[in-house]
Symmetry: D2
Subunit: 140 residues, 4 copies
């Protein structure tokens, strides 16, 4: 499916709309098949023991799937998450950024489904897997 | 099942171990059947439009289920979330705290399962439902 | 919310529309808050060891939530499951029927969310928990 | 990870242990990265309208992930599903078999996580996505 927004447009949108994550999450690459985002891990994401917290990984998955949907339908839409399922499989490695690879599996008129695999940078085995459904509001 | 920690002990534990949410999340009531926690909603939890963000509700569910498990097994354990499923059903009402009601459905030797309903205070229909599995480390 | 179909109407609908489960699943009770269905367990639902299989419990949850939605919106609608999450928590007891208690948590214009607790009859601890989202087609 | 069972061994195991699905589900291909199984669709899997039912797709995902785990750890283990999450995204095409592609994302000492994409044969867009956690019993 043709993309409506490129990497730069998504990052500008991100800074403007999600000031909470500005400077932490970046779209790193994007094509019609795959969007990869990066979480620059710092102390605020960490749990005791030095690993990234579950909610920080959930937030990364959420914003990544949201951006991958916007890349396809454009900035106008106000999509909301209706359902999410996440498996935390391994501890992220301390001191490494997280990379989230997102594929959009369905982009319907009303519902979109995306899935994300999260890795510690440079480590092959994934730390988490997440799938989410977004509800897409009707066009005006 | 008999409780190992009471409301006050859980709140002290919360402040010491999760400084990120200190002062935001409190255990409000606790018995053998139900734990209710409160998220004091402020600007950092909000999305454009004045509603609480999905990741903030996920974090509330996560810490609430964690506390309900600790109430039963005591503070020694280092439980980790392995799986979570969450349905976002309605927009939280602007300007109201969120209450999370947690029931523990299973407390096994290795796995525990809890579920949470989240409401805007004073509103009957739930805004979100979440179930999570925690892995409980073996006793030393 | 007022009910559009009663227990008898749902059971007649079930026999007519789901011949695969005819005689196996019955609506046992129904009010505005709770629908309880029963799976008459026989050999076809069993796994080695004498317990009911996961897919048989999934099918029970699916039909139960579907019936609870129809009870509220009437038989005309052709709702489809879009998402399901299920936790298998304990082995069902051999030789006991399963009871599925269903609550509808949301009944929107487009999406409905229901949740089910499944018990072996006469046993307090639940064997499974399931939540599902149904997509409701637009009225013609 | 080295495989302990090949395609033929898995199919023999399937016929012996799951007589309910004998002749319906087959392992079609298998390597260290991917297991693909096939559901020969017939009338018993169908819903009104000619599409495969949700529970039949759940059962296909369940047995496929189970076989992919056994391929890695051998036939001795008695693994059980503890959690599943499934998204039904499109109607399967009438008159086509279903193919289930399974990847094992984690194979721990206690828990394994697998995920499956289900397609109608010859159709690119997936009809369903499923992830499951299996609990692996301790070795004797």
């Amino acid at each position: 499916m043709a993309l409506q927004m490129d990497r730069e447009a998504l990052n500008i949108f991100l800074d403007r709309t999600f000031p909470q994550v500005a400077g932490q999450v970046r779209v790193q690459s994007l094509d019609e098949r795959l969007l990869i985002s990066r979480l620059s891990v710092d102390h605020q994401h960490l749990r005791p023991g030095g690993t990234v917290s579950g909610p920080a990984m959930f937030a990364l998955a959420d914003v990544t799937i949201y951006l991958a949907i916007l890349a396809r339908i454009g900035e106008v839409a106000l999509a909301v998450t209706t359902n999410a399922s996440i498996d935390f499989m391994r501890k992220p490695e301390a001191g490494r950024d997280l990379l989230a690879e997102c594929r959009i599996l369905k982009l319907g008129r009303v519902l979109a489904v995306g899935e994300v695999l999260i890795h510690s940078e440079g480590v092959e085995d994934p730390v988490a897997r997440c799938s989410m459904t977004y509800s897409i509001p009707p066009k005006r």
